[in-house]
Amino acid sequence: MSDIASRVKAIIVDKLGVDENEVVTEASFTNDLGADSLDTVELIMEFEKEFDIQIPDDQAENIATVGQAISYIEGAK
């Protein structure tokens, strides 16, 4: 697992209080990991802080799964 992927997963485990095994690439924040709309906003903010990037709202809307978050951040770095 890349460094980015493991950091992304650690944030998801911490913020959503889910088990690490559940945080698989195709898992959806809302459908699989129990996130509500506020959780999703918080996740995006944590990614911005952790990786020192800005994720505009219109792009944040397209980050709905673990894999989408990892590839967005890999592309932004």
Partner: protein, 416 residues
């Protein structure tokens, strides 16, 4: 329209001297102090370095980590105390009509720590407003009853009353009237507060409201003692289940007491100072007696607001003498804030619980830390100094007064 009778059928307490109703009661009658040096933050530069924090409390023993993280401490405390009270009431949550169960809660401030933390984070940044999406919903004072209703599905009236230190007494009185008028069968009421924070301690210190007896925290809250120098900040929650008497009787519930009346008034005088002649305080006790339809001579016990401030304590006792006349000396008067500290918006709830338990056990908890007689206090009054007293309490009054001049008073009566 005939008003319904309202009774207490469940209690829950999370306090600086005990984390359950039973622990709280045992600490009250043994005269235990909840004050100690603050552990939550570095107090080196603070005038007051102690408070009544909760002891051995971990929110995650009661709430899952994800749930706990989305709640300010004042809401976590509310969840824990209300769960205890609901369990104590033995209400069958699968059977009751949840459309007729309300939650009316009291909080003087709300999520002060959440507010503080978010503003500190902002100040640390470059001016970009990067606030957490949970900032507002964690901080607002009405979120505690909101969360209680979400957990249990209670769909009746749901809100928080805010009147500083009178908040949870206001909540109880609203709960009482809501059931009296037939709008609800059951209301989960009470209050919670978690203001032992940098902002809370600094803010109250700036008002010269807090005791600065740093050399002896456990004796700092000393209501009615001549050397009292301010209140000791406390935190926690008290929860009370109020229920329609017929509803409680029909399900064979244990009934602790009847709530027979509530009084409300305002000093209309000063933002923080009590009126020197106690006119608002006199009015609130009179209103309360009238609302309950009883005579002053029927009151056996008063749990005072008694915060251990120089002005407030004397003004309240003078008001009691004015309202009760010669009978004042027959009343078992106390201030349990001598042990718990001042829980602000939760004070009315935990002190009402103390009075209800005093009725149940036939024992009035003491006003601890009394050493020096105050010449301004009538020596004939029984202030239950330093030791619990046996007393068959049939009618008990609980007083609370808040910054802003808000006064609220509740009367409880033992069922025959």
């Amino acid at each position: 329209m005939e008003l319904r009778r309202v009774v207490v059928t469940g209690l829950g307490a999370l306090t600086p001297i005990g984390n359950t109703k039973d622990e709280y009661w045992n600490a009250l009658i043994s005269g235990k102090s909840g004050a100690a040096p603050i552990t939550y933050f570095d107090t080196e530069k603070f005038k007051t370095k102690f408070a009544c924090e909760l002891k051995n409390f971990n929110a995650t023993d009661f709430l899952d980590r994800k749930e706990a993280r989305k709640m300010d401490r004042f809401t976590q405390y509310a969840m824990v105390a209300s769960d205890e009270a609901i369990a104590d009431s033995k209400l069958d949550l699968d059977k009751i009509n949840k459309l007729r169960v309300g939650v009316i809660w009291g909080a003087g401030i709300g999520g002060l720590e959440t507010f503080q933390q978010e503003v500190l984070n902002f100040a640390d940044g470059d001016g970009t407003p990067r606030f957490n999406p949970f900032f507002i919903p964690k901080m607002i004072a009405d979120i505690a009853p909101g969360n209680i209703s979400i957990k249990h599905g209670f769909m009746g009236p749901n809100y928080t009353t805010v009147s500083a230190c009178a908040s949870s007494a206001n909540a109880m009185i609203d709960a009482l009237n809501t059931i009296r008028l037939g709008h609800c069968d059951v209301v989960v009421t009470g209050g919670s507060e978690a203001a032992v924070t940098i902002a809370g301690m600094g803010g109250f210190n700036a008002m010269h409201a807090l005791s600065t007896r740093n050399e002896s925290p456990e004796t700092a809250s000393r209501p009615f003692d001549a050397t009292r120098d301010g209140f000791v900040l406390g935190e926690g929650a008290g929860a009370i289940i109020l229920e329609d008497y017929e509803h409680a009787k029909a399900r064979g519930a244990k009934i602790y007491a009847e709530v027979i009346g509530g009084g409300l008034s305002s000093d209309a005088y000063h933002m923080t100072a009590p009126h020197p002649d106690g006119i608002g305080v006199i009015a609130v006790m009179k209103n309360c007696l009238e609302n309950a339809g009883i005579q002053p001579e029927e009151v056996d016990h008063i749990n005072t607001h008694g915060t251990s401030t120089p002005l407030g304590d004397v003004a309240e006792l003078k008001a009691i003498s004015e309202v009760f006349g010669n009978h004042a000396k027959n009343i078992s008067i106390n201030s349990t804030k001598s042990m718990t500290g001042h829980l602000l918006g939760a004070a009315g709830a935990i002190e009402s619980i103390a009075s209800i338990l005093a009725m149940e056990h036939g024992m009035v908890p003491p006003t601890i830390n009394h050493e020096v007689v105050d010449e301004n206090i009538d020596p004939e009054l029984n202030l239950t100094l330093n030791k619990a007293q046996k007393r068959d309490v049939k009618v008990a009054m609980s007083n609370t007064f808040g910054f802003g001049g808000h006064n609220a008073c509740v009367l409880f009566k033992k069922l025959d």
